[in-house]
């Protein structure tokens, strides 16, 4: 049930109308909290290299603050596996092209902790963080879940309508393949692959938000699902399927639902998102960090190029 229904009802009763306006409200503010954005995958690195994993640490801001999210750059960050190994992550500030200076310059706002390592399927990892003020956090262990099925990717031309498709165009769809031995939880993301000029190098970037699915819940499993961004002829796309734990799936699904939640009386109440990064010695759940430590196995579909015959 969403607010569109109400709009339609109102539309059909032309004698009155609803109104929507931006308002100013006083919202409460909690003290800044550590935010962990750590996304590890078992995808191997390119060209035989070890994969680079990144953990970005920031702190939360008051809701209406226009400041940039403060980056935490003096923490000790470690990845530990269930075989007793510990790997240190190093803080790194990436370089970015600055058109004004016509050269690459460091961008501290994108500072993050990095580790080059290929993760092993079936092994559990946890993330440990110690802040400068000696506050310590530790994640729940996350296993790289083995999974052997890859979705089938396809494209189809769709005309714009009022429900599913905003624009005319080719939409990328996929059919997941579920293994039946236990419950699996998936995130799917669409990637676009481009080529850069003369060097003929390819690069890809995420072209969509996440779609969510699990063989644990749905009764319409293995159905065709479409990403909601229209694509164009000649463009190339593929899909990455992340297999994650139930906790990660629930967190991400709820987080996305809340971003879309327009808070009507037909919406569920907003909920605190419970991170898997626990504060050591914390007195209650609200002491934990925000954000996530994600470990996933990844399956990549073939790359398709949009053609009229697709």
């Amino acid at each position: 049930m969403n607010k569109n229904y109400i709009y339609i009802v109102l539309l059909c009763l032309p004698w009155f109308y609803a109104c929507e306006k931006q308002i100013t409200v006083d919202v409460p503010t909690s003290s800044p909290k550590l935010v962990v954005d750590g996304w590890f995958s078992a995808e191997p690195g390119e060209n035989g290299q070890e994969r680079t994993h990144m953990v970005r640490l920031t702190t939360s801001l008051p809701y209406f603050s226009s400041d940039k999210f403060p980056v935490v750059d003096k923490a000790i960050v470690e990845l530990k596996d269930d075989k007793g190994n510990t790997y240190n992550l190093k803080f790194d500030i990436p370089m970015e092209w600055d058109a004004n200076q016509n050269k690459e310059v460091p961008n501290p706002q994108k500072g993050r902790y990095i580790l080059k390592k290929n993760l092993e399927i079936g092994i559990s990892y946890k993330l440990c963080i110690a802040l400068e003020d000696e506050t310590k956090y530790e994640s729940e262990p996350q296993m790289v879940i083995p999974y052997n099925q890859t979705p089938r990717i396809f494209s189809e031309y769709k005309e714009a309508d009022d429900v599913s498709y905003d624009d005319d165009g080719y939409y990328i769809g996929f059919e997941p393949k579920f293994e039946r031995d236990k419950d699996y939880y998936f995130l799917w993301q669409l990637y676009r692959q481009d080529q850069t000029g003369d060097e003929d190098l390819t690069y890809s970037y995420a072209y969509s938000g996440y779609l969510f699915g699990s063989n644990a819940y749905t009764s319409v499993d293995e159905s065709q699902t479409y990403f909601d961004e229209a694509t164009n002829l000649g463009e190339s796309y593929f899909i990455k399927q992340y297999v994650v734990s139930k906790e990660i799936y629930d967190y991400m699904r709820l987080a996305e639902e809340q971003r879309d939640n327009e808070g009507t009386q037909f919406s569920p109440p907003p909920a605190p998102l419970r991170s898997n990064i626990k504060r050591i010695g914390g007195s209650n759940l609200d002491d934990d960090a925000l954000g996530l430590f994600v470990v996933s196995s990844v399956q990549k579909t073939e790359i398709i190029t949009i053609k009229e015959s697709n």
């Binding site: 339609i8 109102l10 004698w15 409200v25 503010t29 801001l61 809701y63 037909f266 569920p268 605190p272």
Partner: protein, 800 residues
């Protein structure tokens, strides 16, 4: 404990003593002389004995007194009293027809009750507004609406404009037993809550019990709304109707055999879809609702009457070829009134009730149809025994057989979806009760009763088992058992005591107190602030417990100005147990193990209701103020090994939080003023606290997206709600004195001063925020209002 037993013994002895004295009985029915409709709550009094009684729901009365010569007065407000002189030396029957008096033409009365009923009756926490008053009040888009009128009474509220249902004394909307001719109505709204399913022309009477609920009612925690349909004019053919901006309605009634058999047929339909067809772009969209009320009754003789009534209503909501939905209620009631003796009145009832809905995407690869329903079949017998003027006894028993169909998904042609079905569930709810109302002296009256209810959850269903002392989750499931059709899954039994006491301080003032326990065995599963027609009902079972509430109320009632002014103050306190609450992010749709998404909550509600009513004169109306609090608590499940609470089983760190419908202050003013013989003016004013809402405590960034950081639930409130509505009613002049056609115009404006009351406040990133990491980071708060401007209305009403 011992004092309680002693009190019961005294009462029983007292009753026995009273029963022992030789008496004769006068009994019969009191009806409206113009149309033969039974008058509910008409007064029968004998001045010589300072005794009296009132008619029941069918207009029946019975009064047993010692032999003698008496003047018996039959009266009902708005009607000319009838006085009968009689020498009572044997049982006598008087069927009385009262004629309406001139008062009804010019003055609106706020209560249809006996003038001092609010003070004299032992019943407290009950609300009743006569239909003539309801019709004159301002109504949204001119639709006479019982539910919206109820929301103007003390202790009754709603979460916002256009919301379905109502909240009574801090209870949820699914905690109200809504009865139409004794058949439960599962969804009382049309158009998602803009209008109620009750057609004002088809309704004869309604009454809301907020507390002190008599023992004959059960099955819901917070209130009983008892709506009775018209029986049909047994004197002559007549009709009434109206043409409004949203809908039109027509009611026809008349005798099939005069004074023996009569019928009532009433229909209403909205026509927004007709207007939409004018616009080619909107032609494929359909939004409308309709109702059909029908009733037929037959009097076999003075001792036997049969009533057959039904309701059929539907909402249709179609959005082009993309979406199609409809939902509706169907009820049918067959009642047989039988008099076993002058003192023993009985009513045998068979009831069918159904609520169903469907949603479909009619075409395409994702096309499907989704259907869900709840049905019940109810058989019951109710008896009223009137041994003497000081004692009224009610007792009875009955059973309800429920069929729950939580959902079936069927793919349409060419759809890639798979068919899916949640298992049907069945249940049997049985109850027996007695309720005694007794005068223990000139000033002291008591009402006491007990309801024993039993609920059995029945197969066919697969029930999962979970590890003990662990959250019910798929991971903690240790197996399942398939129960065959009608095999017992779980049985619950409970006693529900009901007690009320009244002490008269004077002729115009009294003190009252009441206690009641009620149990609720079926729950509406809804994780939204306002219910939607697409919510499902589920029975208590192995994993879902019945909910209970204990309510205590205390009231002081005082009338002034020869009972023209009624004032009251009532205090109440409710303790809820085993309420259904939802885990954060609960997945309620198509979930075959729903218990994994549910939590058990405690609740408490307490408050004060002040009421001032003016019942007669050119100015009538009321002022109602409620100060209250309604809270819930989900303590969670303790992990026995660690001593910590499982996070997924707890809300708000296990502390009390305001319920979604908590309203601290709630002021309502309703007034009707007779400007002249033809013109009247009415107004509603509402001022109340905004409903609780959860605001973000901050924001953070994850994967380049900004998310709100929420901590505790419902710690803030929407802005204060206030609204003024007005209406004028013009009674058209008759061209001839004996002209049967009577017409009136009603002109109204809802939200006169264009207040933008918040339906919701929500938070989002600015639309211009998408530019990578930290480039925009701008957040906004938006307010959504349903009625954003003054809404005028005009309605033409007629009767003949």
């Amino acid at each position: 404990m011992y004092r309680g037993i002693l009190l019961w013994l005294v009462l029983i002895i007292q009753t026995s003593r009273i029963l022992a004295v030789e008496k004769h009985t006068i009994s019969g029915y009191v009806k409206d002389g113009a149309n033969g409709e039974a008058l509910i709550g008409a007064t029968i009094s004998i001045a010589e004995l300072s005794l009296g009684t009132v008619t029941n729901e069918y207009g029946f009365y019975s009064l047993s007194v010692t032999p003698g010569k008496y003047q018996v007065q039959f009266s009902f407000i708005g009607y000319t009293p009838v006085v009968k002189e009689l020498i009572l030396n044997e049982d006598r029957t008087f069927n009385i027809e009262l004629k309406s008096d001139d008062i009804q033409l010019n003055d609106v009365v706020v209560t249809a009750q006996k003038k001092d009923q609010n003070v004299k009756s032992v019943q407290m926490s009950v609300e009743k507004v006569p239909l003539p008053m309801v019709r004159k009040l301002p109504h949204f888009l001119g639709e006479v609406d019982i539910i919206k009128t109820l929301q103007m009474l003390p202790g009754v509220s709603t979460v916002g404009d256009g919301s379905s249902g109502f909240n009574v004394r801090g209870g949820g909307t699914d905690q109200n037993l809504i009865l139409l001719d004794e058949a439960p109505v599962y969804n009382s709204s049309h158009l998602f809550g803009f209008f109620s399913v009750f057609n004002g022309d088809a309704v004869k009477d309604f009454q809301l019990y907020k507390g002190g609920i008599p023992a004959q009612y059960g099955g819901r925690l917070s209130s009983v709304l008892d709506v009775r349909q018209k029986e049909g004019n047994s004197k002559r053919f007549s009709g009434s109707g109206g043409i409004g901006l949203v809908s039109s309605r027509l009611t026809l009634e008349g005798p099939i055999k005069k004074d023996k058999t009569s019928f009532m047929l009433s229909g209403r339909r909205s026509y927004a879809d007709v207007l939409l067809r004018i616009n080619p772009k909107m032609r494929d969209n359909i939004v409308y609702f309709y109702d059909l009320n029908a009733k037929i009754n037959h009097k076999f003789n003075d001792n036997n009457r049969l009533y057959i009534s039904g309701y059929f209503g539907n909402d249709v909501f179609k959005f082009g070829k993309q979406f199609d939905s409809h939902w509706g209620n169907k009820t049918a009631t067959v009642r047989w009134n039988h008099l076993f003796s002058k003192k023993l009145f009985s009513n045998f009832t068979g009831i069918y009730s159904n609520f169903d809905y469907s949603i479909s995407v009619p075409e395409g690869t994702m096309g499907f149809e989704w259907k869900s329903s709840i049905q019940n079949y109810n058989l019951k017998a109710d008896f009223s025994y009137f041994p003497n003027p000081d004692v009224k006894m009610k007792f009875g028993f009955g059973s309800i057989y429920y069929q729950f169909n939580p959902g079936k998904l069927t793919p349409v042609k060419n759809s890639v979806l798979k068919s899916s079905k949640l298992e049907k569930e069945n249940a049997l709810e049985s109850a027996a009760y007695f309720n005694m109302e007794q005068n223990l002296g000139p000033n002291l009256s008591v009402q006491y009763g007990l309801r024993a209810s039993n609920f059995t959850s029945l197969g066919e269903k697969t029930v999962y088992s979970y590890e003990a002392n662990k959250p019910k989750e798929k991971e903690s499931s240790i197996g399942s058992k398939k129960y065959n059709r009608n095999e017992v899954i779980k049985n619950y039994f409970g006693l529900e005591p009901r007690v009320a006491i009244k002490y008269s301080l004077s002729d115009v003032s009294s003190l009252k107190a009441s206690y009641n326990r009620t149990r609720q065995y079926i729950h509406r599963i809804s994780n939204t602030t306002a219910p939607t027609p697409l919510d499902i009902w589920v029975p208590a079972g192995k994993h879902i417990k019945p909910a209970k509430v204990d309510q205590f109320a205390l009231g002081y009632f005082r009338n002034f100005g020869n009972n023209t002014w009624e004032t009251s103050i009532e205090l109440f306190h409710k303790n809820f147990h085993d309420l259904v609450e939802y885990k954060y992010g609960a997945q309620l749709l198509l979930n075959s193990s729903l218990e994994t998404e549910l939590l058990t909550a405690k609740g408490r509600a307490y408050g004060m209701e002040l009421s001032i009513r003016k019942k007669e004169g050119r100015l009538t109306g009321w002022v109602a103020y409620t100060l209250s609090r309604s809270e819930k608590k989900v303590p969670g499940l303790m992990n026995a090994s660690s001593g910590e609470t499982y996070p997924s089983t707890q809300i708000n760190n296990g502390k009390y939080f305001p319920a979604d419908y908590d309203k601290t202050h709630d002021l309502k003013i309703v007034a009707n003023y007779e400007l002249s013989k033809r013109w009247s003016f009415a107004t509603n004013f509402i001022l109340m606290s905004g409903r609780p809402i959860t605001y973000p405590y901050g924001k953070y960034e994850l994967q380049g997206n900004t998310y709100a950081h929420y901590i505790n639930r419902n710690q803030h409130r929407l802005p204060t709600y206030h609204r003024l509505d007005i209406s004028f009613t013009y009674q058209c002049k008759k061209k001839k004195k004996d002209q049967r056609w009577q017409a009136s115009w009603n002109f109204g404006i809802t939200n006169l001063y264009s207040r933008h009351n918040a339906y919701s406040v929500y938070f989002k990133e600015s639309d211009n925020n998408w530019n990578g990491y930290n480039k925009g980071n701008k957040m906004e708060a938006w307010q959504f209002s349903i009625i954003g401007r003054p809404v005028p209305t005009i309605t033409y009403n007629f009767k003949f």
